[in-house]
Amino acid sequence: MSELIKLTGVQKYYGDYHALRDINLTIDQGEFFSLLGPSGCGKTTLLRTIAGFEGVSSGTVMIAGRDMADVPPNLRPTNMVFQSYAIFPHLSVAENVAFGLRKSGMSKADKATAVDEALTMVGLAGYGARAAHALSGGQRQRVALARALILKPKVLLLDEPLSALDKKMREHMQVELIRLQRAVGITFILVTHDQEEALVMSDRIAVMFEGEIGQLADPETLYRRPNSRRVAEFIGKMNFINGTASATDEGAKVLVPGLGKCTIPAEQFPQGVTTGEVAIGIRPETLAILFEGDKAPRHEAEAVVDEVVYYGDMTYYDVRVSEVEKPLTIAMKNLIGRPVLDVGAKTRIAWDERSLVVF
Protein backbone atom coordinates (compact mmCIF):
# COMPACT_ATOMS: atom_id res chain seq x y z
CA MET A 1 0.00 0.00 0.00
CA SER A 2 1.19 3.47 -0.75
CA GLU A 3 1.41 6.32 1.65
CA LEU A 4 -1.40 8.87 1.18
CA ILE A 5 -1.37 11.19 4.18
CA LYS A 6 1.70 12.19 6.11
CA LEU A 7 1.61 14.42 9.18
CA THR A 8 4.96 15.59 10.48
CA GLY A 9 5.45 17.35 13.79
CA VAL A 10 1.95 18.84 13.80
CA GLN A 11 1.35 21.25 16.68
CA LYS A 12 -1.79 23.26 17.32
CA TYR A 13 -2.32 25.97 19.91
CA TYR A 14 -5.52 27.83 20.77
CA GLY A 15 -4.07 30.75 22.67
CA ASP A 16 -2.29 29.00 25.53
CA TYR A 17 -4.15 25.75 25.07
CA HIS A 18 -2.00 23.06 23.44
CA ALA A 19 -4.54 21.10 21.40
CA LEU A 20 -2.19 18.95 19.31
CA ARG A 21 1.27 17.96 20.55
CA ASP A 22 3.76 16.83 17.93
CA ILE A 23 1.59 14.52 15.86
CA ASN A 24 3.52 12.26 13.45
CA LEU A 25 1.40 9.94 11.41
CA THR A 26 1.17 8.26 8.03
CA ILE A 27 -2.03 6.84 6.62
CA ASP A 28 -2.05 4.55 3.60
CA GLN A 29 -4.11 4.54 0.43
CA GLY A 30 -7.28 2.51 0.96
CA GLU A 31 -6.91 2.22 4.71
CA PHE A 32 -9.75 2.46 7.23
CA PHE A 33 -8.09 4.53 9.92
CA SER A 34 -9.63 5.62 13.23
CA LEU A 35 -8.80 8.40 15.65
CA LEU A 36 -10.05 7.23 19.03
CA GLY A 37 -10.02 9.03 22.33
CA PRO A 38 -12.05 10.66 25.09
CA SER A 39 -13.73 14.00 24.40
CA GLY A 40 -11.28 16.89 24.31
CA CYS A 41 -8.33 14.70 23.33
CA GLY A 42 -7.81 16.55 20.03
CA LYS A 43 -9.08 13.87 17.65
CA THR A 44 -11.64 16.16 15.99
CA THR A 45 -9.07 18.97 15.79
CA LEU A 46 -6.70 16.59 14.06
CA LEU A 47 -9.41 15.58 11.58
CA ARG A 48 -10.19 19.23 10.92
CA THR A 49 -6.53 20.05 10.26
CA ILE A 50 -6.54 17.31 7.61
CA ALA A 51 -9.76 18.73 6.13
CA GLY A 52 -8.28 22.24 6.20
CA PHE A 53 -10.80 23.84 8.58
CA GLU A 54 -8.07 24.38 11.15
CA GLY A 55 -4.57 25.57 10.36
CA VAL A 56 -1.57 24.08 12.14
CA SER A 57 0.65 26.13 14.45
CA SER A 58 3.69 24.24 13.18
CA GLY A 59 4.45 21.03 11.30
CA THR A 60 3.24 19.87 7.90
CA VAL A 61 0.22 18.06 6.52
CA MET A 62 0.91 16.25 3.24
CA ILE A 63 -1.83 14.63 1.19
CA ALA A 64 -0.81 12.60 -1.88
CA GLY A 65 2.67 14.06 -1.70
CA ARG A 66 1.49 17.68 -1.67
CA ASP A 67 1.98 20.09 1.20
CA MET A 68 -1.45 21.32 2.25
CA ALA A 69 -0.26 24.43 4.11
CA ASP A 70 -1.84 26.95 1.75
CA VAL A 71 -4.61 24.78 0.36
CA PRO A 72 -8.09 25.80 1.59
CA PRO A 73 -10.66 23.08 2.39
CA ASN A 74 -12.53 23.54 -0.88
CA LEU A 75 -9.39 22.68 -2.88
CA ARG A 76 -8.25 19.67 -0.82
CA PRO A 77 -8.81 16.13 -2.09
CA THR A 78 -10.76 15.37 1.09
CA ASN A 79 -14.47 15.33 1.83
CA MET A 80 -16.15 15.16 5.16
CA VAL A 81 -19.19 13.62 6.80
CA PHE A 82 -20.04 15.99 9.63
CA GLN A 83 -21.19 14.94 13.06
CA SER A 84 -24.47 16.81 12.52
CA TYR A 85 -24.40 15.62 8.87
CA ALA A 86 -24.97 19.28 7.81
CA ILE A 87 -27.60 18.30 5.27
CA PHE A 88 -28.73 21.58 3.65
CA PRO A 89 -32.33 21.89 4.84
CA HIS A 90 -33.42 24.16 1.98
CA LEU A 91 -32.43 21.67 -0.74
CA SER A 92 -33.82 18.32 -1.81
CA VAL A 93 -31.90 15.08 -1.35
CA ALA A 94 -30.71 15.13 -4.96
CA GLU A 95 -29.69 18.80 -4.74
CA ASN A 96 -27.74 18.01 -1.59
CA VAL A 97 -25.91 15.16 -3.26
CA ALA A 98 -25.22 17.22 -6.39
CA PHE A 99 -24.04 20.23 -4.37
CA GLY A 100 -20.33 19.65 -4.95
CA LEU A 101 -20.79 19.09 -8.71
CA ARG A 102 -21.74 22.73 -9.37
CA LYS A 103 -18.35 23.65 -10.77
CA SER A 104 -17.59 20.24 -12.29
CA GLY A 105 -18.64 21.20 -15.80
CA MET A 106 -20.77 18.07 -16.06
CA SER A 107 -23.94 18.15 -18.15
CA LYS A 108 -27.27 18.07 -16.37
CA ALA A 109 -27.88 14.50 -17.50
CA ASP A 110 -24.45 13.35 -16.30
CA LYS A 111 -25.04 14.96 -12.95
CA ALA A 112 -28.40 13.23 -12.59
CA THR A 113 -26.79 9.89 -13.42
CA ALA A 114 -24.00 10.48 -10.92
CA VAL A 115 -26.51 11.43 -8.22
CA ASP A 116 -28.57 8.31 -8.90
CA GLU A 117 -25.47 6.14 -8.71
CA ALA A 118 -24.35 7.73 -5.46
CA LEU A 119 -27.80 7.34 -3.91
CA THR A 120 -27.98 3.72 -5.00
CA MET A 121 -24.55 3.08 -3.51
CA VAL A 122 -25.74 4.24 -0.07
CA GLY A 123 -29.07 2.43 -0.38
CA LEU A 124 -31.25 5.48 -1.01
CA ALA A 125 -32.23 4.84 -4.64
CA GLY A 126 -35.39 6.79 -5.48
CA TYR A 127 -35.08 9.26 -2.59
CA GLY A 128 -33.74 12.11 -4.74
CA ALA A 129 -36.88 14.23 -4.83
CA ARG A 130 -37.47 14.14 -1.08
CA ALA A 131 -37.08 17.22 1.08
CA ALA A 132 -33.96 17.02 3.21
CA HIS A 133 -35.71 17.92 6.46
CA ALA A 134 -38.07 14.96 6.10
CA LEU A 135 -35.28 12.38 6.48
CA SER A 136 -34.54 10.17 9.47
CA GLY A 137 -31.16 10.20 11.19
CA GLY A 138 -29.89 7.13 9.35
CA GLN A 139 -31.08 8.52 6.02
CA ARG A 140 -29.38 11.84 6.65
CA GLN A 141 -26.16 10.04 7.22
CA ARG A 142 -26.50 8.15 3.97
CA VAL A 143 -27.14 11.42 2.12
CA ALA A 144 -24.05 12.91 3.75
CA LEU A 145 -22.02 9.91 2.59
CA ALA A 146 -23.38 10.09 -0.94
CA ARG A 147 -22.76 13.84 -1.09
CA ALA A 148 -19.11 13.36 -0.11
CA LEU A 149 -18.39 10.22 -2.13
CA ILE A 150 -19.87 11.55 -5.37
CA LEU A 151 -16.80 13.82 -5.63
CA LYS A 152 -14.49 10.77 -5.49
CA PRO A 153 -12.17 12.26 -2.86
CA LYS A 154 -8.84 10.64 -2.02
CA VAL A 155 -9.82 10.69 1.62
CA LEU A 156 -13.21 10.58 3.31
CA LEU A 157 -13.24 12.13 6.77
CA LEU A 158 -15.94 11.00 9.18
CA ASP A 159 -16.48 13.05 12.34
CA GLU A 160 -18.32 10.84 14.87
CA PRO A 161 -20.76 9.84 12.14
CA LEU A 162 -22.64 7.27 14.18
CA SER A 163 -22.96 9.09 17.50
CA ALA A 164 -26.39 10.54 16.69
CA LEU A 165 -27.92 7.15 15.88
CA ASP A 166 -29.55 4.69 18.26
CA LYS A 167 -27.71 1.48 19.18
CA LYS A 168 -29.35 -0.85 16.63
CA MET A 169 -28.94 1.62 13.78
CA ARG A 170 -25.34 2.27 14.82
CA GLU A 171 -24.40 -1.39 14.65
CA HIS A 172 -26.10 -1.69 11.29
CA MET A 173 -24.30 1.35 9.88
CA GLN A 174 -20.92 0.09 11.14
CA VAL A 175 -21.22 -2.92 8.89
CA GLU A 176 -22.49 -0.80 5.99
CA LEU A 177 -19.60 1.62 6.30
CA ILE A 178 -17.09 -1.23 6.17
CA ARG A 179 -18.81 -2.64 3.10
CA LEU A 180 -18.92 0.78 1.46
CA GLN A 181 -15.27 1.46 2.17
CA ARG A 182 -14.23 -1.85 0.60
CA ALA A 183 -16.43 -1.13 -2.43
CA VAL A 184 -15.06 2.34 -3.17
CA GLY A 185 -11.49 1.71 -1.99
CA ILE A 186 -11.15 5.27 -0.66
CA THR A 187 -9.17 5.98 2.48
CA PHE A 188 -11.56 6.56 5.42
CA ILE A 189 -10.51 8.43 8.52
CA LEU A 190 -13.02 8.03 11.33
CA VAL A 191 -13.15 10.04 14.54
CA THR A 192 -14.89 8.30 17.39
CA HIS A 193 -14.97 8.10 21.17
CA ASP A 194 -16.53 4.63 21.03
CA GLN A 195 -13.75 2.06 21.37
CA GLU A 196 -15.96 -0.79 20.21
CA GLU A 197 -16.82 1.10 17.02
CA ALA A 198 -13.12 1.71 16.35
CA LEU A 199 -12.20 -1.93 16.99
CA VAL A 200 -14.97 -3.23 14.74
CA MET A 201 -14.32 -0.97 11.76
CA SER A 202 -10.66 -0.01 11.55
CA ASP A 203 -7.55 -1.37 9.91
CA ARG A 204 -5.51 0.75 12.31
CA ILE A 205 -6.40 2.95 15.26
CA ALA A 206 -4.59 5.92 16.80
CA VAL A 207 -5.61 6.33 20.44
CA MET A 208 -5.27 9.95 21.51
CA PHE A 209 -4.99 11.55 24.93
CA GLU A 210 -4.55 15.26 25.66
CA GLY A 211 -3.42 16.15 22.15
CA GLU A 212 -0.98 13.32 21.62
CA ILE A 213 -1.13 9.84 20.15
CA GLY A 214 -0.93 7.31 22.96
CA GLN A 215 -0.74 4.25 20.74
CA LEU A 216 -1.07 3.55 17.04
CA ALA A 217 -1.77 -0.06 16.17
CA ASP A 218 -4.16 -2.53 14.59
CA PRO A 219 -7.23 -3.38 16.71
CA GLU A 220 -5.93 -6.71 17.99
CA THR A 221 -2.57 -5.37 19.12
CA LEU A 222 -4.29 -2.44 20.71
CA TYR A 223 -6.59 -4.69 22.68
CA ARG A 224 -4.15 -7.42 23.62
CA ARG A 225 -0.97 -5.41 24.04
CA PRO A 226 -1.91 -1.89 25.09
CA ASN A 227 1.32 0.06 25.51
CA SER A 228 0.27 2.02 28.56
CA ARG A 229 -2.12 1.87 31.45
CA ARG A 230 -4.32 4.67 30.07
CA VAL A 231 -4.71 2.90 26.73
CA ALA A 232 -5.51 -0.33 28.57
CA GLU A 233 -8.10 1.44 30.69
CA PHE A 234 -9.66 3.27 27.74
CA ILE A 235 -9.99 0.21 25.49
CA GLY A 236 -12.21 -2.46 26.98
CA LYS A 237 -12.15 -3.35 30.65
CA MET A 238 -9.06 -4.39 32.52
CA ASN A 239 -8.32 -5.52 36.08
CA PHE A 240 -5.15 -4.14 37.64
CA ILE A 241 -3.27 -5.85 40.45
CA ASN A 242 -0.19 -4.35 42.09
CA GLY A 243 2.52 -7.02 42.12
CA THR A 244 6.29 -7.38 42.08
CA ALA A 245 8.66 -8.41 39.31
CA SER A 246 12.30 -9.39 39.12
CA ALA A 247 13.92 -9.10 35.72
CA THR A 248 15.60 -12.08 34.06
CA ASP A 249 17.27 -12.55 30.68
CA GLU A 250 14.08 -13.26 28.69
CA GLY A 251 11.60 -11.33 30.78
CA ALA A 252 10.73 -11.39 34.46
CA LYS A 253 9.50 -13.55 37.26
CA VAL A 254 6.30 -11.94 38.44
CA LEU A 255 4.41 -12.45 41.69
CA VAL A 256 0.71 -11.78 41.20
CA PRO A 257 -0.79 -11.39 44.70
CA GLY A 258 -3.75 -13.69 45.29
CA LEU A 259 -3.16 -15.60 42.07
CA GLY A 260 0.42 -16.91 42.19
CA LYS A 261 3.85 -16.75 40.54
CA CYS A 262 4.71 -16.97 36.86
CA THR A 263 7.35 -16.14 34.29
CA ILE A 264 6.44 -13.53 31.72
CA PRO A 265 8.39 -12.83 28.51
CA ALA A 266 9.67 -9.32 27.71
CA GLU A 267 7.04 -8.75 24.96
CA GLN A 268 4.34 -8.56 27.65
CA PHE A 269 6.14 -5.57 29.19
CA PRO A 270 5.16 -2.77 26.76
CA GLN A 271 7.17 -0.21 28.69
CA GLY A 272 10.17 -2.49 29.19
CA VAL A 273 10.99 -5.09 31.80
CA THR A 274 11.40 -3.70 35.29
CA THR A 275 12.25 -5.02 38.71
CA GLY A 276 10.20 -4.08 41.71
CA GLU A 277 6.62 -2.81 41.96
CA VAL A 278 4.55 -3.33 38.82
CA ALA A 279 0.91 -3.02 37.77
CA ILE A 280 -0.43 -6.23 36.23
CA GLY A 281 -3.32 -5.94 33.81
CA ILE A 282 -5.73 -8.83 33.24
CA ARG A 283 -8.72 -8.70 30.87
CA PRO A 284 -11.98 -10.04 32.46
CA GLU A 285 -12.53 -12.59 29.69
CA THR A 286 -9.06 -14.11 30.17
CA LEU A 287 -10.03 -15.09 33.71
CA ALA A 288 -12.59 -17.85 34.25
CA ILE A 289 -14.69 -19.37 37.00
CA LEU A 290 -13.90 -23.08 37.13
CA PHE A 291 -16.98 -25.27 36.85
CA GLU A 292 -17.12 -29.04 37.28
CA GLY A 293 -15.77 -30.85 34.23
CA ASP A 294 -13.70 -27.90 32.93
CA LYS A 295 -10.24 -28.71 31.61
CA ALA A 296 -7.41 -28.19 34.06
CA PRO A 297 -6.13 -24.63 33.57
CA ARG A 298 -2.51 -23.45 33.49
CA HIS A 299 -2.99 -21.71 36.85
CA GLU A 300 -5.79 -21.55 39.36
CA ALA A 301 -6.65 -19.72 42.59
CA GLU A 302 -9.28 -19.55 45.37
CA ALA A 303 -11.94 -16.82 45.18
CA VAL A 304 -15.23 -15.70 46.72
CA VAL A 305 -18.03 -14.21 44.60
CA ASP A 306 -18.65 -10.61 45.64
CA GLU A 307 -21.07 -9.34 43.02
CA VAL A 308 -22.98 -10.87 40.11
CA VAL A 309 -24.17 -8.84 37.12
CA TYR A 310 -26.26 -10.82 34.66
CA TYR A 311 -26.28 -9.59 31.03
CA GLY A 312 -28.14 -12.40 29.31
CA ASP A 313 -25.40 -13.67 27.03
CA MET A 314 -22.73 -13.01 29.66
CA THR A 315 -22.43 -12.88 33.40
CA TYR A 316 -19.91 -10.51 34.99
CA TYR A 317 -18.61 -11.65 38.37
CA ASP A 318 -16.68 -9.55 40.80
CA VAL A 319 -14.63 -11.99 42.90
CA ARG A 320 -12.32 -11.47 45.84
CA VAL A 321 -8.99 -13.22 46.05
CA SER A 322 -6.75 -13.14 49.09
CA GLU A 323 -4.17 -10.31 49.41
CA VAL A 324 -5.95 -8.15 46.81
CA GLU A 325 -8.11 -5.30 48.02
CA LYS A 326 -10.11 -4.62 44.88
CA PRO A 327 -12.29 -7.42 43.54
CA LEU A 328 -11.39 -8.83 40.10
CA THR A 329 -13.96 -8.78 37.33
CA ILE A 330 -14.48 -11.97 35.38
CA ALA A 331 -16.60 -12.23 32.22
CA MET A 332 -18.22 -15.61 31.66
CA LYS A 333 -20.28 -16.79 28.69
CA ASN A 334 -23.61 -18.25 29.83
CA LEU A 335 -23.14 -21.63 28.10
CA ILE A 336 -25.78 -24.37 28.23
CA GLY A 337 -25.94 -26.03 31.60
CA ARG A 338 -23.59 -23.53 33.20
CA PRO A 339 -25.13 -22.18 36.44
CA VAL A 340 -24.98 -18.55 37.58
CA LEU A 341 -23.25 -18.41 40.95
CA ASP A 342 -24.69 -16.57 43.95
CA VAL A 343 -23.00 -13.82 45.90
CA GLY A 344 -20.82 -15.32 48.62
CA ALA A 345 -20.19 -18.58 46.77
CA LYS A 346 -16.69 -20.01 47.13
CA THR A 347 -15.13 -20.97 43.83
CA ARG A 348 -11.87 -21.58 42.00
CA ILE A 349 -10.77 -19.32 39.18
CA ALA A 350 -8.48 -20.02 36.24
CA TRP A 351 -5.87 -17.63 34.86
CA ASP A 352 -3.20 -17.67 32.21
CA GLU A 353 0.05 -15.72 32.38
CA ARG A 354 0.13 -15.36 28.56
CA SER A 355 -2.75 -12.88 28.74
CA LEU A 356 -1.15 -10.56 31.29
CA VAL A 357 0.28 -7.12 30.47
CA VAL A 358 2.71 -5.65 32.95
CA PHE A 359 3.44 -1.95 33.34
Binding site: P73, T78, A86, H90, K103
Partner: protein, 266 residues
Protein backbone atom coordinates in the same frame (compact mmCIF):
# COMPACT_ATOMS: atom_id res chain seq x y z
CA UNK B 1 -56.94 31.13 36.43
CA UNK B 2 -56.71 34.40 38.34
CA UNK B 3 -53.41 34.94 36.59
CA UNK B 4 -55.03 34.40 33.19
CA UNK B 5 -57.73 36.99 33.94
CA UNK B 6 -55.05 39.42 35.04
CA UNK B 7 -53.03 38.78 31.89
CA UNK B 8 -56.07 39.36 29.70
CA UNK B 9 -56.90 42.57 31.58
CA UNK B 10 -53.30 43.64 31.04
CA UNK B 11 -53.63 43.01 27.30
CA UNK B 12 -56.77 45.12 27.31
CA UNK B 13 -54.78 47.91 28.99
CA UNK B 14 -52.09 47.57 26.32
CA UNK B 15 -54.62 47.70 23.50
CA UNK B 16 -56.94 50.35 24.97
CA UNK B 17 -55.66 53.26 22.86
CA UNK B 18 -55.47 51.19 19.71
CA UNK B 19 -59.06 50.03 20.11
CA UNK B 20 -60.25 53.64 20.44
CA UNK B 21 -58.44 54.73 17.31
CA UNK B 22 -60.86 53.35 14.68
CA UNK B 23 -63.85 54.42 16.78
CA UNK B 24 -62.92 58.07 16.39
CA UNK B 25 -61.60 57.65 12.86
CA UNK B 26 -65.07 56.66 11.67
CA UNK B 27 -66.94 58.97 14.06
CA UNK B 28 -68.97 61.73 12.44
CA UNK B 29 -67.91 64.45 14.88
CA UNK B 30 -65.05 66.90 15.14
CA UNK B 31 -64.47 66.46 18.88
CA UNK B 32 -62.47 63.47 20.02
CA UNK B 33 -64.66 62.50 22.96
CA UNK B 34 -67.64 60.38 23.84
CA UNK B 35 -70.44 59.98 23.03
CA UNK B 36 -69.92 59.00 19.39
CA UNK B 37 -72.24 60.74 16.94
CA UNK B 38 -72.39 58.67 13.74
CA UNK B 39 -70.50 56.83 11.03
CA UNK B 40 -68.47 58.58 8.36
CA UNK B 41 -65.53 57.95 6.06
CA UNK B 42 -64.97 61.67 5.48
CA UNK B 43 -61.77 61.76 7.49
CA UNK B 44 -60.21 59.12 5.31
CA UNK B 45 -61.31 61.03 2.24
CA UNK B 46 -59.65 64.13 3.61
CA UNK B 47 -56.41 62.20 3.94
CA UNK B 48 -56.25 61.69 0.21
CA UNK B 49 -56.40 65.41 -0.46
CA UNK B 50 -53.73 66.67 1.93
CA UNK B 51 -50.63 67.46 -0.21
CA UNK B 52 -48.38 68.32 2.74
CA UNK B 53 -49.21 65.01 4.37
CA UNK B 54 -48.45 63.13 1.19
CA UNK B 55 -45.03 64.76 1.03
CA UNK B 56 -44.38 63.85 4.67
CA UNK B 57 -45.46 60.26 4.05
CA UNK B 58 -43.17 60.04 1.03
CA UNK B 59 -40.27 61.34 3.11
CA UNK B 60 -40.94 58.87 5.88
CA UNK B 61 -41.25 55.94 3.51
CA UNK B 62 -37.92 56.83 1.89
CA UNK B 63 -36.24 57.23 5.28
CA UNK B 64 -37.72 53.98 6.55
CA UNK B 65 -36.65 52.06 3.46
CA UNK B 66 -33.05 53.32 3.61
CA UNK B 67 -32.94 52.68 7.34
CA UNK B 68 -34.23 49.15 6.85
CA UNK B 69 -31.56 48.38 4.26
CA UNK B 70 -28.57 49.89 6.06
CA UNK B 71 -29.39 48.77 9.59
CA UNK B 72 -30.06 45.23 8.38
CA UNK B 73 -26.71 45.19 6.58
CA UNK B 74 -24.90 46.37 9.72
CA UNK B 75 -26.97 43.96 11.81
CA UNK B 76 -25.96 41.07 9.57
CA UNK B 77 -22.29 41.88 10.01
CA UNK B 78 -22.62 42.00 13.79
CA UNK B 79 -24.88 38.95 14.08
CA UNK B 80 -22.62 36.87 11.88
CA UNK B 81 -19.53 37.94 13.80
CA UNK B 82 -21.45 37.15 17.00
CA UNK B 83 -22.11 33.60 15.86
CA UNK B 84 -18.44 33.05 14.95
CA UNK B 85 -15.41 32.29 17.11
CA UNK B 86 -14.76 34.57 20.06
CA UNK B 87 -12.07 37.16 19.68
CA UNK B 88 -10.70 39.53 22.31
CA UNK B 89 -13.15 42.31 23.11
CA UNK B 90 -16.04 40.77 21.18
CA UNK B 91 -18.58 41.09 23.97
CA UNK B 92 -17.61 44.69 24.63
CA UNK B 93 -17.77 45.66 20.98
CA UNK B 94 -21.18 44.08 20.40
CA UNK B 95 -22.40 45.51 23.70
CA UNK B 96 -21.38 48.98 22.54
CA UNK B 97 -23.22 48.56 19.23
CA UNK B 98 -26.31 47.49 21.21
CA UNK B 99 -26.07 50.53 23.51
CA UNK B 100 -28.66 52.71 21.70
CA UNK B 101 -31.24 50.16 22.86
CA UNK B 102 -31.05 51.50 26.41
CA UNK B 103 -29.85 55.04 25.77
CA UNK B 104 -32.54 57.74 26.17
CA UNK B 105 -33.46 58.79 22.66
CA UNK B 106 -33.12 62.46 23.48
CA UNK B 107 -29.43 61.91 24.28
CA UNK B 108 -28.89 60.31 20.88
CA UNK B 109 -30.86 63.15 19.29
CA UNK B 110 -29.03 66.07 20.88
CA UNK B 111 -25.57 64.56 20.50
CA UNK B 112 -26.17 63.93 16.81
CA UNK B 113 -27.63 67.41 16.40
CA UNK B 114 -24.53 68.95 17.96
CA UNK B 115 -22.07 66.96 15.88
CA UNK B 116 -23.96 67.40 12.61
CA UNK B 117 -24.92 71.06 12.90
CA UNK B 118 -22.35 72.69 15.11
CA UNK B 119 -19.24 70.61 14.44
CA UNK B 120 -19.60 69.32 10.89
CA UNK B 121 -21.94 72.06 9.65
CA UNK B 122 -24.09 69.59 7.72
CA UNK B 123 -27.53 70.75 6.62
CA UNK B 124 -30.29 68.70 8.18
CA UNK B 125 -32.06 66.52 5.65
CA UNK B 126 -33.64 63.13 5.27
CA UNK B 127 -30.14 61.66 5.34
CA UNK B 128 -29.38 63.01 8.81
CA UNK B 129 -32.50 61.24 10.06
CA UNK B 130 -31.52 58.07 8.21
CA UNK B 131 -28.08 58.17 9.87
CA UNK B 132 -29.68 58.39 13.32
CA UNK B 133 -32.37 55.81 12.60
CA UNK B 134 -29.78 53.32 11.38
CA UNK B 135 -27.99 53.80 14.69
CA UNK B 136 -31.06 53.05 16.83
CA UNK B 137 -32.47 50.31 14.56
CA UNK B 138 -29.25 48.30 14.25
CA UNK B 139 -29.54 46.82 17.79
CA UNK B 140 -33.05 45.54 17.00
CA UNK B 141 -31.80 44.07 13.72
CA UNK B 142 -28.94 42.38 15.55
CA UNK B 143 -31.35 40.91 18.10
CA UNK B 144 -33.53 39.46 15.35
CA UNK B 145 -30.67 38.27 13.14
CA UNK B 146 -28.86 36.70 16.09
CA UNK B 147 -31.74 34.25 16.27
CA UNK B 148 -31.25 33.34 12.62
CA UNK B 149 -27.45 33.15 12.68
CA UNK B 150 -27.02 31.37 15.99
CA UNK B 151 -29.52 28.67 15.13
CA UNK B 152 -27.49 27.92 12.04
CA UNK B 153 -25.31 24.82 12.30
CA UNK B 154 -21.74 26.08 11.62
CA UNK B 155 -20.96 22.85 9.81
CA UNK B 156 -23.48 23.83 7.10
CA UNK B 157 -21.13 26.41 5.69
CA UNK B 158 -18.12 24.17 6.32
CA UNK B 159 -19.85 21.39 4.41
CA UNK B 160 -20.27 23.72 1.43
CA UNK B 161 -16.57 24.66 1.63
CA UNK B 162 -15.68 21.00 1.90
CA UNK B 163 -17.69 20.29 -1.24
CA UNK B 164 -15.60 22.75 -3.22
CA UNK B 165 -17.30 26.13 -2.84
CA UNK B 166 -15.35 29.28 -2.05
CA UNK B 167 -16.10 31.15 1.17
CA UNK B 168 -18.31 33.69 -0.56
CA UNK B 169 -20.25 31.15 -2.63
CA UNK B 170 -20.69 28.97 0.47
CA UNK B 171 -22.27 32.00 2.17
CA UNK B 172 -24.40 32.80 -0.87
CA UNK B 173 -25.59 29.24 -1.56
CA UNK B 174 -26.12 27.99 1.99
CA UNK B 175 -26.14 30.64 4.71
CA UNK B 176 -27.99 33.38 2.86
CA UNK B 177 -31.02 31.27 1.88
CA UNK B 178 -31.22 29.91 5.41
CA UNK B 179 -31.17 33.32 7.11
CA UNK B 180 -33.25 35.09 4.47
CA UNK B 181 -36.47 35.01 6.53
CA UNK B 182 -34.55 36.63 9.38
CA UNK B 183 -33.20 39.31 7.04
CA UNK B 184 -36.65 40.22 5.75
CA UNK B 185 -38.04 40.19 9.27
CA UNK B 186 -35.22 42.48 10.41
CA UNK B 187 -35.91 44.88 7.54
CA UNK B 188 -39.61 45.00 8.35
CA UNK B 189 -38.95 45.77 12.02
CA UNK B 190 -36.41 48.48 11.18
CA UNK B 191 -38.87 49.91 8.64
CA UNK B 192 -41.65 50.00 11.26
CA UNK B 193 -39.47 51.62 13.92
CA UNK B 194 -38.15 54.27 11.55
CA UNK B 195 -41.61 55.04 10.17
CA UNK B 196 -42.92 55.64 13.68
CA UNK B 197 -39.92 57.35 15.28
CA UNK B 198 -40.57 60.91 16.41
CA UNK B 199 -38.20 62.00 19.20
CA UNK B 200 -35.03 61.92 17.10
CA UNK B 201 -36.69 62.90 13.83
CA UNK B 202 -38.03 66.06 15.46
CA UNK B 203 -34.48 67.18 16.25
CA UNK B 204 -32.89 66.16 12.98
CA UNK B 205 -35.60 66.86 10.44
CA UNK B 206 -34.72 69.34 7.73
CA UNK B 207 -37.10 71.53 5.76
CA UNK B 208 -39.27 68.55 4.83
CA UNK B 209 -40.94 67.05 7.91
CA UNK B 210 -41.37 63.31 8.34
CA UNK B 211 -44.81 61.89 8.92
CA UNK B 212 -44.58 61.74 12.75
CA UNK B 213 -43.23 65.32 12.81
CA UNK B 214 -46.13 66.39 10.61
CA UNK B 215 -48.62 64.59 12.89
CA UNK B 216 -47.05 66.31 15.89
CA UNK B 217 -47.89 69.61 14.23
CA UNK B 218 -51.47 68.53 13.60
CA UNK B 219 -52.01 67.48 17.22
CA UNK B 220 -52.05 71.16 18.22
CA UNK B 221 -55.08 71.92 16.04
CA UNK B 222 -58.29 70.35 17.38
CA UNK B 223 -59.91 70.65 13.97
CA UNK B 224 -57.38 68.31 12.40
CA UNK B 225 -57.64 65.63 15.08
CA UNK B 226 -60.22 63.39 13.35
CA UNK B 227 -57.94 63.27 10.32
CA UNK B 228 -55.08 62.26 12.60
CA UNK B 229 -57.27 59.46 13.95
CA UNK B 230 -57.95 58.23 10.43
CA UNK B 231 -54.26 58.37 9.59
CA UNK B 232 -53.43 56.57 12.84
CA UNK B 233 -55.90 53.82 12.02
CA UNK B 234 -54.20 53.24 8.69
CA UNK B 235 -50.76 53.29 10.28
CA UNK B 236 -51.72 50.82 13.00
CA UNK B 237 -53.23 48.51 10.40
CA UNK B 238 -50.06 48.79 8.29
CA UNK B 239 -47.78 48.17 11.27
CA UNK B 240 -49.76 45.14 12.38
CA UNK B 241 -49.59 43.69 8.89
CA UNK B 242 -45.83 44.32 8.60
CA UNK B 243 -45.14 42.97 12.07
CA UNK B 244 -47.23 39.88 11.48
CA UNK B 245 -45.28 39.16 8.32
CA UNK B 246 -42.03 39.79 10.18
CA UNK B 247 -43.02 37.43 12.99
CA UNK B 248 -44.13 34.68 10.62
CA UNK B 249 -40.89 34.97 8.67
CA UNK B 250 -38.79 34.98 11.84
CA UNK B 251 -40.44 31.75 12.95
CA UNK B 252 -40.05 30.19 9.55
CA UNK B 253 -36.39 31.17 9.49
CA UNK B 254 -35.72 29.50 12.81
CA UNK B 255 -37.56 26.42 11.68
CA UNK B 256 -35.69 26.31 8.41
CA UNK B 257 -32.33 26.58 10.13
CA UNK B 258 -33.37 23.64 12.26
CA UNK B 259 -33.72 25.50 15.58
CA UNK B 260 -36.54 25.75 18.07
CA UNK B 261 -38.50 28.94 18.62
CA UNK B 262 -37.61 30.69 21.82
CA UNK B 263 -40.16 33.37 21.14
CA UNK B 264 -40.17 37.13 20.97
CA UNK B 265 -38.33 39.80 19.08
CA UNK B 266 -35.78 40.55 21.75
Amino acid sequence: MKLRIYALAYLLFLYAPIILLPLFAFNDGTIIAFPLSGFTTNWFAELTENKALHAAVRNSLFIALMTAIFSTLLGMCAARAGAMANFPGKRGIIGFVMLPLVLPEIIVAVSLLVILRQVLGVNLSNWTIIAAHVLICTPFCIAILNGAFQNLDPSMEEAALDLGESRWSAFRLVTLPLVMPGIISSMLIAFTISLDEFIIAFFLTGTNPTMPVYIWGLLRFPASLPVVMALGTLLVALSIILLTIAELLRRRGIKRAGGTDKGGFL
